[in-house]
């Protein structure tokens, strides 16, 4: 009987069609609407920043992997995702070298040093942004505005709220479509939500983290208004500004740095919501999404240690 040598390996002998590449490239596709919106509102320079950021991230990962004699994995698309996200959380007016520094740090410091994809504790794009903000605060807080928008104040919506300039706030519709100042990819809620819906249909993300996060922010802002100025329109302002939608749907849901279980994800979302509101409402800084997600990334291993699914055959058991 002609069969040659047979392959012997452990079961299961079949796999479904999912792969790391498929997940990452679907995330890239889901971010495209927001990049298009950013380019539309802020000009072609925005697209250039995105491309520079992606190129730097990919080149950095490839170079480091080659130097460390590891397998070069840039085709899985994860560096592309980091590059895109980093560009989306910086002001569209920054000098072109900002995304180069930012993406380099995101990959080299937040990802490669930890051991590459899967081993990083913190969201690489947000680490890159945090490093940029600490190192180049002026460039990172100089905002650009879409044509036709009153740019006299030079502040984002949340900065206006913090500064008390409530009469100058943009309309809810402007906030929803993105005709406002802010980071390159965070302003157009509708473009982001289209991308998020796409990710949910593809079952890459679920509602647990984003809705817990945004819901917590809404509840806390609502409570603060209940005992304060009674202006419940602030809930909508807070939800639509400051990169909350971008952060909740695309950063907090990053698989590597968020909890394994859905229950853990809800805890993560609530925690991030609380910290975001603490920073925005009580802290000196108008925006809190970036730091709240990074802080919850640090808590994720703890969540995974204690939040376990229910064991079959044991009722009510949680840990």
């Amino acid at each position: 009987m002609e069969e040659g040598r047979l392959i012997v390996s452990a079961s299961p002998h079949i796999r479904d069609k999912g792969s790391v590449s498929r997940i990452m490239w679907l995330v890239v596709v889901s971010l495209v609407p927001a990049v298009i919106a950013g380019t539309y509102f802020f000009g072609a320079r925005a697209l250039l920043l995105v491309l520079i950021s992606i190129a730097t991230a990919v080149a950095t990962e490839a170079a480091i992997q080659k130097i460390m004699r590891k397998k070069v994995t840039i085709s899985d698309g994860s560096a592309v995702v980091t590059g895109m996200l980093l560009a989306m959380v910086i002001s569209p007016g920054v000098p072109l070298w900002i995304p180069i520094v930012g993406s380099f740090c995101a990959i080299a410091i937040a990802k490669s040093i930890f051991g590459g994809l899967g081993h990083n504790v913190f969201n690489p794009a947000l680490v890159g942004r945090a490093i940029l903000l600490a190192s180049f605060p002026v460039a990172m807080t100089t905002w650009k505005f879409p044509t036709g928008v009153d740019s006299l104040t030079g502040a984002t919506s949340l900065a206006m709220v913090k500064g008390g300039a409530l009469d100058k706030l943009p309309s809810i519709w402007s906030l929803f479509i993105g005709r406002v100042g802010g980071s390159l990819g965070e302003t157009s809620a509708i473009a982001l939500l289209i991308g998020a819906a796409f990710l949910m249909i593809c079952r890459i993300i679920t509602w647990h983290i984003p809705i817990s996060y945004i819901g917590t922010v809404a509840v806390i802002v609502g409570l603060s208004q209940l005992f304060g100025g009674q202006d419940f329109g602030m809930i909508t302002i807070h939800v639509l500004s400051g990169g909350l939608i971008l952060g909740a749907f695309f950063m907090a849901t990053d698989m590597v740095t968020s909890p394994l279980t859905k229950k853990g994800g809800v805890i993560f979302g609530i925690g991030a919501g609380v910290i975001t509101c603490l920073i925005r409402l009580l802290g000196g800084y108008p925006e809190g999404v970036c730091y709240s997600i990074l802080l919850m990334n640090a808590v994720t291993p703890l969540i995974d240690r204690y939040v376990k699914p229910r064991r079959f055959g044991i009722s009510g058991q949680r840990t």
Binding site: S9, H119, M255, L260, K262, R310, G313
Partner: protein, 444 residues
């Protein structure tokens, strides 16, 4: 219709589902392992050179949890030595090799009892034991032991497992379509032995003809209900079946007895009927030969001990470049390194994959996507157990309950990083069980 948590949906690929069971060609030589069941190996009671007849006992059970072994063909015993049998570790078993003389006559010992209706429960159990019947869904637990309910345990339901949730395999499907009355007859014997008045037959909904045949066969049996079940792997694992049929959960490490249930495979029930009514011991079984790598998939009635290679030949031979020959299904079956390995009582399916079908791809680091946690039907966190196991930290895995793992394969099936999760969990389980055994031995 109840559901269970997790599970996956591989393509059914039940290509052979519509094909009648054919008798396999009588094999010129059979290799009958004395260990093809859970428990102690049987002891040979014939010698090399002896002439044996089909159905003659050739192996005596080696203890309470053991099974009788019978000649599946008539002929001469030419060898009693170690041979490979289907198992994941490549182990061998002392086996009786019989060269067939071709006459194929039943032994004189094989005769039905005179009055079946007057048989007492213990007598029926003895017949089941003498016939060497073991769980034919693949678990091969000695059936007479399973049906000997210990003192103090109350059971109220017998469930027959006609789920057959693994892709490709179809022997249970065909037995249900072709011999439904025999299955129901066996179920009634089981219910009689265990003093149970309620029976269920669980069948996945991708087998509408089997559901219809079994419903027809039970239409005059008010105590027996056919339960069509949603198609989801691993619905056929007995704990999932009990959950779906009765909404009861068997606690970890416990038997279905604890929730008042005993589960048997439909093939086992049919074998019980043959043993009681015809006096026939377990010497043959339905086996499907399937997969994209076989020329003509078929369902065959095969004598125990027939080499896989004989059956592959009868199905037109291998197609193209063969990659894997799997005993069982694609989710939990064992890959064989030798096609001359014999069919045993627990062999449900021979699955042939080409080298392309067998490609899994390289594994990479876990990306913590959590899909393995989502699909685990037992509620474990496979990636946590596997990553600790990969570092040799087996004791640390105990916080994640690796012994609950049934090795169903759902986790590895969905892992986008292609990590061999089941294998890593098996390492942890083996280490923990070895330490438990050592501790038990030390404390004696």
């Amino acid at each position: 219709m109840k559901r269970f948590r997790g599970g996956v949906h591989p393509h059914s690929e039940k290509v052979s589902g519509g094909k009648r069971i054919e008798n396999a060609v009588l094999p010129p030589k059979v290799i009958i392992p004395l260990q093809q069941h859970i428990g102690a190996p049987a002891q040979p009671i014939v010698e090399v050179g002896a002439e044996v007849k089909k159905g003659q006992k050739i192996g005596e059970a080696g203890g309470f949890v053991s099974s009788m072994i019978h000649a599946s063909v008539s002929g001469k015993v030419t060898e009693i030595s170690d041979y490979l049998y289907p198992n994941p570790l490549g182990r061998t078993s002392l086996s009786v090799v019989i060269e067939s003389g071709g006459e194929d006559e039943w032994s004189e010992d094989v005769k039905p009892v005179d009055d079946v209706e007057s048989l007492g429960n213990q007598r029926i159990l003895d017949i089941v034991r003498e016939a060497g019947i073991v769980g034919m869904g693949g678990a091969t637990f000695p059936t007479n032991v399973k049906l000997s309910i210990p003192e103090g345990k109350e059971i109220d339901t017998i469930i027959l497992n006609g789920v057959e949730c693994e892709p490709y395999m179809t022997p249970d499907h065909r037995i249900m379509v072709e011999e439904p009355e025999k299955i129901v007859d066996g179920l009634k014997f089981i219910m009689k032995i265990t003093n149970v008045s309620r029976g269920y037959i669980g069948i996945e909904m991708n087998k509408p003809d089997a559901i219809q045949a079994m419903q027809e066969a039970t239409k005059d049996e008010p105590n027996i209900q056919v339960s069509p079940l949603k198609v989801k792997y691993p619905q056929g694992w007995e704990n999932m079946l009990i959950k779906a049929a009765l909404d009861r959960e068997v606690p970890p490490g416990a038997l279905p007895l604890e929730v008042g249930v005993v589960v048997c495979n439909v093939g086992t029930a049919a074998a019980i009927s043959d043993a009681v009514r015809l006096g026939q011991p377990l010497i043959e079984r339905a086996v499907s030969v399937t997969g994209p790598g076989i020329t003509e998939p078929k369902n065959l009635r095969v004598r125990i001990g027939t080499p896989f290679s004989d059956l592959i030949e009868q199905c037109g031979g291998l197609k193209g470049k063969t990659g894997k020959v799997i005993a069982g299904g694609p989710m939990m079956g064992f890959a064989m390194f030798d096609v001359n390995v014999p069919v045993v009582k627990g062999t449900t399916n021979i699955l042939i994959f080409s080298d392309k079908d067998a490609e899994i791809g390289e594994s990479r680091s876990c990306i913590k996507c959590g899909r393995c946690v989502d699909v685990c039907p037992v509620g474990l966190m496979p990636t946590m157990i596997a990553s600790l196991s990969a570092k040799g930290r087996f004791e640390d895995t105990e916080a994640y309950f690796p012994l609950d793992c049934k090795e169903c394969g759902c986790c590895a099936y969905v892992c986008p990083a292609k990590i061999p999760l089941v294998q890593l969990i098996q390492f942890a389980k083996a280490d923990i069980m070895a330490r438990q055994r050592a501790a038990r031995a030390a404390s004696k």
